[in-house]
């Protein structure tokens, strides 16, 4: 996960605990949510928390515990909340690569009240992917028409195709599930008959 995504993932986790969160709790929560996909060690965790504190996005207080060493408790600041809100609504990524990291963290903290914005986010991401594909397609066409030997380039282009295709298929699914959540308790539409 890119540094700034980790940063916002932690900021998001802190934001949902107005009573404050300490490092160990954050690590446990992060692992529960993302452990299967990303590992975050304590070094990274505390470095990131330090960075958030220095940027004024979280506030850290010492909590004294009887019979045990005191521990640091983190709370989100107004400016931290602002920064989180801003980031959540930024298009996930201009470069199609780290989409999963980025979008999944955003989806986690975009609340029900922002469903339209969430849907718009998924859709703008789809448009970015299609542009990327269109560029690849142009390159392929130019290369093929130039008659050069493009053994490796062709394989790389194919890989790029497959990746973008998979990402777009995933976006379709994200959209579908989002719409289902939005429609929620409304009577489900009858499923259309099989494709004709």
């Amino acid at each position: 996960m890119a540094t700034d995504v980790v940063q916002y993932a932690l900021l998001g986790l802190i934001s949902v605990r107005p009573e404050g969160a300490h490092g160990y709790q954050l690590k446990v929560k992060f692992d529960a949510l993302y452990g299967d996909f990303w590992s975050l060690n304590y070094g990274q965790l505390y470095r990131t928390l330090d960075r958030l504190e220095r940027a004024g996005l979280v506030q850290c207080t010492e909590e004294v515990q009887s019979g045990r060493p005191s521990r640091k408790v983190y709370r989100i600041t107004a400016s931290g909340q602002h920064s989180l809100d801003d980031w959540l609504l930024l298009p996930p990524t201009d470069e199609p690569r780290p989409l999963r990291d980025d979008l999944s963290v955003k989806l986690l903290f975009l609340t029900e009240a922002r469903r339209e914005e969430t849907l718009a986010l998924v859709r703008s991401q789809r448009a970015i992917y299609l542009h990327h594909l269109a560029r690849l397609t142009k390159r392929r066409t130019v290369l093929e028409e130039s008659g050069q030997d493009m053994f490796v380039t062709r394989l790389l282009l194919l890989q790029a195709d497959m990746r973008v295709r998979a990402d777009l298929a995933w976006l379709d699914l994200v959209e579908k599930e989002l719409l289902q959540r939005i429609e929620g308790k409304k009577a489900p539409r009858p499923t259309p008959p099989k494709h004709r």
Binding site: D86, L89, L90, P91, D94, A120, R123, S124, R126, A127, I128, Y129, L130, H131, L133, A134, R135, L136, T137, K138, R140, T141, L158, D161, V164, R165, L168, D172, K176, R189, P192, P193, K194, H195, R196
Partner: protein, 244 residues
């Protein structure tokens, strides 16, 4: 130009009523290569059928050029389909007992052209799809990609203004698909044909300049995929953020 003006299409009634299209408005300029995407049942094929006047809208109007289609007499509609529209389908729809050449020339024979010009036009489009050397083969002797190229030749032989393609690569592998897409791209670029294509494959969609996404019979996205359009998207998003 193709224009949909607030078009609704309902199939059946009562319990079996299906709203295939709900107030669809869409303008496709001449020569554009436009792709329609969307889940199964979202109304994609219905859009193509309406353009060809194979079915009529329940509400609204469709224009081809400046002609409204719903009032057109059946005979005129059939003539329009034959002369101005080329079809490409997922399952090729070639006549199995005719050769590639005979399949391609069929629309011209139906139109009563002289045999000299039939031969000339047929050769022209078979050359375009690079299948002149297989002209005497029957569909069963051709690969899927070749059959689809024959179908494209047949669609182009009347020099139509519009090509309607319904999942033309649905049964092809990726190499054959690219060949088909390049042909459709060239039809639009070099022959000035308006291409309206339904596809599930984003890679195929990326050959066009526009992607319209349908859901439940409505347009939910209309994406310009040409160069420079990326900045438009970012601008749009930035703008939306400022709004609140």
């Amino acid at each position: 130009m193709i224009r949909f003006d607030n078009v609704s299409k309902v199939f059946g009634e009562g319990q079996t009523r299906v709203d295939a299209l709900r107030g669809l408005s869409l303008q496709i300029p001449a020569r554009q290569f436009c792709t329609i995407m969307g889940p199964s049942g979202s109304g994609k094929s219905t859009v193509l059928h309406l353009v060809a006047r194979l079915t009529k809208p329940t509400e609204g109007e469709i224009y081809l050029g400046d002609r409204p289609l719903s009032g057109m007499a059946e005979r005129d509609a059939a003539m329009m389909r034959r002369r101005e529209i080329g079809f490409v389908f997922q399952f090729f729809h070639l006549i199995p007992y005719l050769s590639a050449e005979e399949n391609v020339s069929l629309p011209l024979l139906l139109d009563g052209l002289s045999s000299a010009s039939v031969r000339q036009q047929t050769e022209r489009v078979l050359t375009l799809v690079d299948l002149l050397h297989r002209r005497r083969h029957k569909p069963s002797e051709l690969s899927g990609g070749e059959m689809q190229r024959v179908a494209i030749a047949r669609a182009l032989v009347t020099s139509p203004r519009v090509i309607l393609a319904d999942e033309p690569t649905g049964n092809l592998d990726s190499t054959a698909s690219h060949a088909i897409m390049r042909l459709l791209r060239r039809s639009s670029d070099e022959l000035g044909v308006t291409v309206l294509m339904v596809t599930h494959d984003p890679v195929c969609a990326s050959y066009g300049e526009r992607v319209v996404r349908l859901m439940d019979g409505q347009v939910v996205e209309d994406i310009d995929v040409t160069e420079g359009a990326s900045e438009e998207v970012s601008k749009h998003v930035a703008h939306r953020r400022q709004d609140g």
